[in-house]
Symmetry: none
DNA sequence: GTGGTCTAGACCACA
DNA sequence: GTGGTCTAGACCACC
């Protein structure tokens, strides 16, 4: 378990935001539950607390997280918001895949092959 | 064709490289054919010529494009290289999709829905 | 009366102090009268008793409130002090308004409009 | 001309945002014009460039400013947006004044006095 | 203990 | 030159 693996070509704080959203969507953090403190989470992911604070602040701006002064940050209690995020993540994965593959001018057979690959990998 | 749409959060020259590769893979630029000059392509895509030059340089470094002094830049004549690029793009699209969706903890049914969406969109 | 509405971006205890002063100025709490206990007031305003205790302490430091051991906290009996507070609050409201509006470079007509708005709202 | 005067009880970056908006509203920065660079403005106002960058980022998030990579930040070209800001600033000054004064339970005469004070000061 | 803000200084990609 | 990001370390108010 390394400190964490970040893509050096994308802002770390954005990757953290994505990670926290995914964890919430998977139920690792349940609705309304307290997130680790900025400092703890920063230690866990091996980043500077400032960077983590920025990620938390952005999540709060989006309404995905709320903060109680002196108590910490919490995942939204709004299950719909989390469900919506889940759908959004799934749909944007679909959209990106379709866009990328659509530009390659593949034959029907080639596309079928790709879909078979995906099915295998996802089960 | 509009000046072009770039994601302002990712390096433009990388997006250009991707675009030129995709055009080659689709046969818009056939193997060995001459690419538009840096200046023309920059104008077409609404980009600073410096940025375009950097994209061409990178494509040349990868061997995907070669330059004949005084004549301009050309797509590689190596059809295998282009085919390999096509496969690589397709496979990396698959890999990314699988990675993204795998992190969402979806049910088998939800996954099937996504695959259906993709199939529809790609035909 | 709802738990109370506080601006989460400003110290709560300061907002409480302001609220208690305003109540005194309006005569909700008359000079020399007993204030609700820290605990009761905290419950009324939906606030941590620590926070309320801090507000009371600050009000006492300013001489706006005094405490009799074992009996509780009381609004000052000094009517002048309360009148002075009233004038001070009114004058600082005027000063702030003038400062804010003065920076906007409004026309005489626009200013007149604002004054008309105020007059309407205050009657 | 001191480096600048900030209220130590409010976040500097918020005060900077307000200052830049007011300048735009007054026409000090006209629509579409380039703002001083983050570094220059930071020097002018005597704050750390990071703090200024945060203010600029926030202004961009609000759509009040836009940024061209490598070229700098610019006031929105949307005159309506600037006019709307002007109205918003004036109206919120009115609203605050009305709220503050309304809680003091003043007599009609006292209110008239305050309005006279304001009128004097603003002309 | 918590998050919020600020400074300082550094590096980077982009134009 | 521009803005964007990150680290480091500090201080603060609030709970």
């Amino acid at each position: 378990m390394p400190p964490y693996e970040f893509d050096p070509n994308a802002p770390i704080y954005l990757q953290i935001i994505g990670e926290i959203k995914k964890r919430s969507v998977r139920g690792v953090y349940s609705p309304g539950s307290k997130l680790p403190s900025v400092r703890d989470m920063a230690r866990e992911m091996g980043v500077n607390p400032n960077t983590m604070a920025r990620a938390y602040a952005e999540l709060e701006r989006e309404g995905f997280v709320f903060t109680r002064r002196g108590q910490g940050s919490f995942v939204t209690e709004n299950r719909r918001k989390i469900e919506a995020e889940k759908r959004k993540l799934a749909q944007s994965a679909v959209a990106r895949f379709v866009a990328e593959v659509g530009e390659l001018d593949l034959s029907g057979e080639q596309i079928a092959d790709l879909l078979r690959d995906i099915e295998e990998d996802l089960t």
